[in-house]
C-alpha cells in the first residue's frame, strides 16, 4: 500500500519510502530540505503559515555560475544607477505561486546588507531591486533568491514597458479628476435645472455658477490638456482633427460661461464643458488601453541575443563581448547553445537546428569544414568554429537590421473614424462660423449669435463619434481574448477586415511542426520500456515524436536506467541493458552496423534493433493540423487569395499544399525572400496578412499589414506580430477573421448612428432651436446609443 506524504517545503506528495526523514519533517529532495533549514535559521519560517497548502516547485535545478552577473558587460546592459547612486536592476522571478512567495522573497532580500529596496509585482512576477553596489554584489542577491528556492533572470525594463505604463497612469490621473469634477457638477446642475424651470434668484444662480466654474476649471485645463496638445499638433501639421473641435468647443463654452457668471444674466454651461471633456477623454483612454507601443518592437531582437560568447585565445577559454569578436577568432559552442556569428567548423561535429532560419524541419549534421550560420542552435554538437564574419555582418545581425527597416516600412492604414473626423471637424467649425455671421448680420445681439454658434459646436461635439470606434473595438478585443486570440492593437481589427491576401508559413502553421508517428511496424514483440527509456535520453525531434507516441499509447511505461547510452551524431543512438545491445536511428545507422533491411517510405523512418536484429520500424511525418482544409476553404470562400511560403523542400511543400487545397505556393524561401514577397504584394496595392511562427518568418511578419503568430512560436516572432493565436489552432485563425469583420461592421454602424444624429441636430442648432442644455442631454443619449449598439456583438456571438 502506498503511503503518500507531503514534503514540508514544497507540499508535493510522494511515497514515504522515497522521502528524506528529518526529525518530524519529511522532504522530497535535498534542495527542499536545504531551503527549509535556511528559512528556519533566518527566522522566516512563518512563510509556511502564510503559504498554506500551496504547492511549490521543488528546489532541484542546477544553475549556471552566478558570477556572470557581475561582469561589466552585464552591468552595462541591465543595471542602471539612480540619483542617490544606488544600483537598480529589473528581474523576472521564476517559481512564484502565491503572495507568500512574494513576501518571502522581499523579506529575504530586505534582510541582506546593502539591499535597499526589493519590490516584487505578484501579477507579472517582475521585481525591481535597489542596492548599494559597494556593500553587496548582484550575484549575491541572485544567489539568495536561488537559495530560497526561486530563480531570477534580468530583463531590460527601460524601453519595454515604462513608456506605455506612464501614458496609462497619466490617463488614470486625468480621468479621476475629470470624473470627480463632472459628478459633482451634475449635482449642482440638478439645482440649476430645477431653478430654470421653477424660478431661482440671480444671487443663488451666481453661487451655483461659481461652484461649477471652480470644478470645471481643472477638468478643462488639466484633464482636457491632451486635447489642447492634440489641437496644437493638428494646427502645426495643418490637419483639422477632432481635438481642435473638442478644445475650441469646450474653451468657447467655458469663456462664455465665465462671462455669463460675471454679468449675472443668462445661463452658464460649465456642465457641458466638463461633460464633453470627460466623455471624449474616456473614449481616448479606451484607445490608449488597447494600443501597442511602436518603440517596443525595435528593442526586441536585442534582448534575445546574449551579450557574451566563449572564445579560445592563446589556448585559453575566455568570454568575450559580441562586438569585440574578430574574424579568425575561434568560438566554442556546446549543445543547446545558439550560434551568434557566422563561421566554419574546425573541430567536432554534431547536429544543428536550422529551422529558425530556413524552416527546414529536420536537423542538419555539420562536421569539420562545414559552415555555420548565426541564428542556428546546436542540438547535440560540441564544436569549435572559426569566425568568418564579425557580429555586425553576420546573418543574425543582418536580420535585425532588416527587421528594423521592415517595422518602419509597415504600411499605416488610416482608421476610418480618423479620416471621417478630419472632414467632420472642419465642416462643423465652418458651419458654426457661418451661423455666427448669419445671426450677427440678421441682426441679433452678439450674445445670442455667439450662443447659437457655440451650441452648434457643442451639439456636434463628437462624443458619439469619439466613442464609436473604441467601444466597438474593445468589445471585439475582449471577444477575441475569450477565443484565445490576442489583438495587440485595436486598430488591427479594422485593418484585418480589409485584408485581401493571406500568406501562410508551412511548418508550425499549417502543420504541427513536429514529426509524429504515423505508422508503426512491429516485426517482433519486444519490451516497449527499453525503447521508451532510450528515446527519452535524446533531444532529437524524431526521438521526441516516438516518445510522445509511446506515452500516448501506454502511459504506464516507466523509465529504466540503461547501462550504457551514447548518441551517434546524425544517425541515432546506441544503448545497452542486461547484456543486450540496442540501436535506434535511421537507415545509415543500420547500414553502418551491417544490418540489412529492405524498407521503403517517403516519410522519415526510425529503426529499432535488439542485438542487431530490427524489431520495429516507425514512420514519422510532420502532420497537418486539424481543420486546415476547412480553414482554407473558408478563406477562399471569402475571396481572399491564399499563398503558402516555406523554407522547406519542394516535395513536402507540394504534399501539404495539395492536401489542404492551396494552389499557390513557393518553396525553399529564405527569410529575405519572404520579406521581398510581401513587399511585392504591397506594390500591387494589396493588403496582406502573414501567418507564421518562427524566426524565419519574423521579417515577413513585421512587414505585412497584419502579422499573426502561433502562441507556441518563437519569442521574437510573437513580439513583432500584431495578433497572437494562443491555442495555435486554425479554428481561432478563422475566428480572428470573423471577429474583425463583425467589429468593423459595428464600427461602420456606430459612425452612421452618430452622423445621422448630427445631421438632424445640427440644422436645428443652426436655426437656434437648441440651447446648449438640450445639446448636452442629447449628446449623452447618442453616446448611450453607440455603446448599446456595440454590446450587441456579444449576444450575436453567444448564439
Amino acid at each position: 500500500m502506498s503511503n503518500n506524504i507531503a514534503c514540508t517545503h514544497c507540499h508535493l506528495e510522494f511515497n514515504e519510502d522515497v522521502m528524506i526523514k528529518d526529525g518530524e519533517h519529511y522532504f522530497c529532495c535535498n534542495g527542499c530540505q536545504g531551503v527549509y533549514h535556511l528559512l528556519n535559521e533566518e527566522g522566516l519560517d512563518s512563510f509556511y503559515e502564510k503559504a498554506g497548502n500551496t504547492k511549490l516547485t521543488p528546489q532541484t535545478s542546477q544553475y549556471e555560475d552566478s558570477s556572470n552577473f557581475n561582469s561589466p558587460a552585464f552591468y552595462d546592459k541591465f543595471v542602471s544607477v539612480d540619483k542617490d547612486g544606488f544600483s537598480k536592476v529589473s528581474l523576472v522571478i521564476e517559481g512564484i505561486h502565491c503572495s507568500a512567495c512574494v513576501w518571502l522573497n522581499e523579506k529575504a532580500l530586505h534582510k541582506m546588507d546593502g539591499v535597499i529596496e526589493a519590490d516584487i509585482n505578484f501579477t507579472n512576477n517582475k521585481a525591481t531591486i535597489l542596492w548599494a553596489d559597494n556593500v553587496v554584489k548582484l550575484s549575491q542577491i541572485i544567489d539568495m533568491i536561488r537559495a530560497i528556492g526561486y530563480n531570477a533572470f534580468p530583463y531590460d525594463a527601460s524601453v519595454q514597458e515604462s513608456y506605455a505604463n506612464k501614458e496609462r497612469k497619466d490617463y488614470y490621473l486625468r480621468m479621476s479628476v475629470a470624473i470627480f469634477s463632472t459628478m459633482n457638477i451634475m449635482w449642482i446642475a440638478v439645482a440649476q435645472y430645477a431653478g430654470y424651470f421653477s424660478g431661482i434668484t440671480q444671487d443663488m444662480k451666481t453661487i451655483l455658477n461659481i461652484a461649477e466654474g471652480i470644478l470645471a476649471t481643472p477638468v478643462l485645463f488639466y484633464s482636457g490638456w491632451v486635447f489642447f496638445r492634440g489641437a496644437y499638433y493638428g494646427i502645426k501639421t495643418k490637419v483639422v482633427n477632432m481635438d481642435i473641435l473638442v478644445s475650441t468647443g469646450a474653451l468657447l463654452t467655458y469663456i462664455y460661461s465665465i462671462y455669463i457668471t460675471l454679468v449675472e444674466s443668462g445661463e452658464a454651461y460649465f456642465d457641458s464643458v466638463s461633460m464633453i471633456i470627460t466623455f471624449v477623454l474616456i473614449g481616448k483612454f479606451l484607445e490608449v488601453l488597447s494600443k501597442k507601443n511602436a518603440a517596443d518592437a525595435l528593442d526586441i531582437m536585442g534582448k534575445h541575443i546574449q551579450s557574451e560568447i566563449n572564445i579560445i585565445r592563446d589556448n585559453k577559454l575566455i568570454s568575450c563581448k559580441l562586438d569585440d569578436i574578430e574574424v579568425g577568432d575561434i568560438v566554442v559552442v556546446s549543445s543547446g547553445e545558439k550560434v551568434l556569428v557566422d563561421g566554419d567548423v574546425i573541430k567536432g561535429n554534431g547536429t544543428f537546428d536550422e529551422s529558425s532560419l530556413t524552416g527546414e524541419s529536420e536537423p542538419i549534421f555539420k562536421q569539420e569544414g562545414d559552415s555555420l550560420i548565426s541564428g542556428t542552435v546546436s542540438i547535440d554538437a560540441d564544436v569549435h568554429f572559426r569566425v568568418v564574419k564579425d557580429f555586425k555582418h553576420s546573418t543574425l545581425s543582418t536580420i535585425v537590421t532588416l527587421l528594423e527597416s521592415a517595422i518602419n516600412k509597415k504600411p499605416k492604414i488610416q482608421q476610418m473614424a480618423n479620416k471621417l473626423s478630419e472632414y467632420f471637424s472642419s465642416t462643423i467649425l465652418l458651419l458654426s462660423l457661418f451661423t455666427f455671421i448669419g445671426w450677427w448680420l440678421w441682426p441679433h445681439s452678439f450674445e445670442t449669435s455667439f450662443m447659437v454658434a457655440v451650441s452648434v459646436i457643442v451639439i456636434a461635439c463628437p462624443c458619439a463619434l469619439a466613442l464609436a470606434t473604441p467601444v466597438a473595438t474593445l468589445v471585439g478585443l475582449s471577444l477575441g481574448v475569450k477565443k484565445g486570440i490576442l489583438f495587440k492593437e485595436a486598430a488591427q481589427l479594422e485593418t484585418m477586415a480589409k485584408i485581401d491576401t493571406l500568406v501562410l508559413d508551412k511548418t508550425g502553421t499549417l502543420t504541427v511542426g513536429k514529426p509524429e508517428v504515423i505508422k508503426e511496424h512491429i516485426l517482433e514483440e519486444f519490451d516497449k520500456k527499453l525503447l521508451y527509456s532510450m528515446v527519452k535520453n535524446s533531444k532529437h525531434p524524431i526521438a521526441k515524436g516516438i516518445l510522445n507516441y509511446l506515452k500516448n499509447k501506454d502511459d504506464s511505461l516507466e523509465n529504466i536506467v540503461l547501462d550504457e547510452f551514447t548518441q551517434i551524431a546524425a544517425q541515432g543512438m546506441k544503448a545497452s541493458y542486461n547484456n543486450k545491445s540496442f540501436l535506434g536511428g535511421n537507415l545509415s545507422l543500420m547500414n553502418a552496423q551491417n544490418i540489412d533491411i529492405d524498407f521503403k517510405s517517403e516519410n522519415s523512418v526510425f529503426y529499432f534493433s535488439i542485438d542487431d536484429k530490427v524489431v520495429a520500424i516507425y514512420e514519422l511525418n510532420d502532420q497537418i493540423k486539424d481543420g486546415a482544409k476547412e480553414f482554407i476553404d473558408f478563406i477562399l470562400g471569402k475571396n481572399i487569395e491564399v499563398i503558402m511560403l516555406t523554407g522547406d523542400n519542394e516535395n513536402s511543400a507540394k504534399r501539404v499544399a495539395k492536401e489542404v487545397g492551396i494552389s499557390n505556393y513557393k518553396y525553399e524561401q529564405t527569410p529575405e525572400d519572404k520579406l521581398n514577397f510581401i513587399a511585392k504584394i504591397h506594390d500591387e496595392k494589396k493588403k496582406v496578412v502573414m501567418v507564421g511562427d518562427g524566426v524565419n518568418d519574423v521579417l515577413a511578419l513585421a512587414s505585412a499589414d497584419i502579422g499573426i503568430v502561433m502562441g507556441s512560436g518563437s519569442d521574437i516572432a510573437v513580439d513583432v506580430s500584431d495578433i497572437v493565436l494562443l491555442n495555435d489552432s486554425l479554428k481561432s485563425l478563422s475566428d480572428a477573421f470573423k471577429i474583425s469583420k463583425t467589429t468593423f461592421g459595428l464600427i461602420k454602424q456606430n459612425l452612421w448612428i452618430s452622423l445621422i444624429y448630427n445631421s438632424i441636430t445640427i440644422p436645428l442648432a443652426m436655426a437656434g432651436y437648441v440651447i446648449p442644455l438640450v445639446a448636452a442631454i442629447s449628446m449623452s443619449v447618442s453616446s448611450f446609443l453607440v455603446v448599446g449598439n456595440s454590446m450587441r456583438i456579444k449576444y450575436k456571438w453567444s448564439k
Binding site: 502564510k50 544607477v81 542617490d84 547612486g85 544606488f86 503572495s99 512574494v102 513576501w103 523579506k107 530586505h110 546593502g114 535597499i116 529596496e117 516584487i120 509585482n121 505578484f122 501579477t123 548599494a132 553596489d133 559597494n134 556593500v135 497612469k169 488614470y172 490621473l173 479621476s176 479628476v177 470627480f180 459633482n184 449642482i188 434668484t201 444671487d203 443663488m204 453661487i207 451655483l208 461652484a211 471652480i214 470644478l215
Partner: protein, 71 residues
C-alpha cells in the same frame, strides 16, 4: 443669509471631496494600485513585524545614503 449657508456648504463639501481626490491621486502616482494582486493581499502582510521591517528598511536606506558616495 440663506445664500451664504448654501455657498458655505458647497465650499466645504467641494473642499472635502478635493482632499479625498488628492489622496487618491497621491496613491495612484505612488504606484499603490499598480499590482492589483499584491494590493488585495496586502492585509495579510500587515502585522507588527511587517511594519517594523518596513521602518528598518527606511532606516537602512537613510544610513546607506549617508555613507555611500560613489563618484
Amino acid at each position: 443669509m440663506d445664500n451664504w449657508v448654501i455657498a458655505m456648504m458647497l465650499g466645504a463639501s467641494i473642499f472635502l471631496g478635493a482632499i479625498a481626490l488628492t489622496a487618491f491621486l497621491w496613491a495612484l502616482k505612488n504606484g499603490q494600485f499598480d499590482d492589483e494582486e499584491k494590493f488585495l493581499n496586502a492585509v495579510k502582510f500587515d502585522s507588527e513585524e511587517d511594519l517594523n521591517d518596513a521602518v528598518n528598511q527606511e532606516v537602512k536606506k537613510e544610513k546607506l545614503k549617508k555613507e555611500y558616495r560613489p563618484e
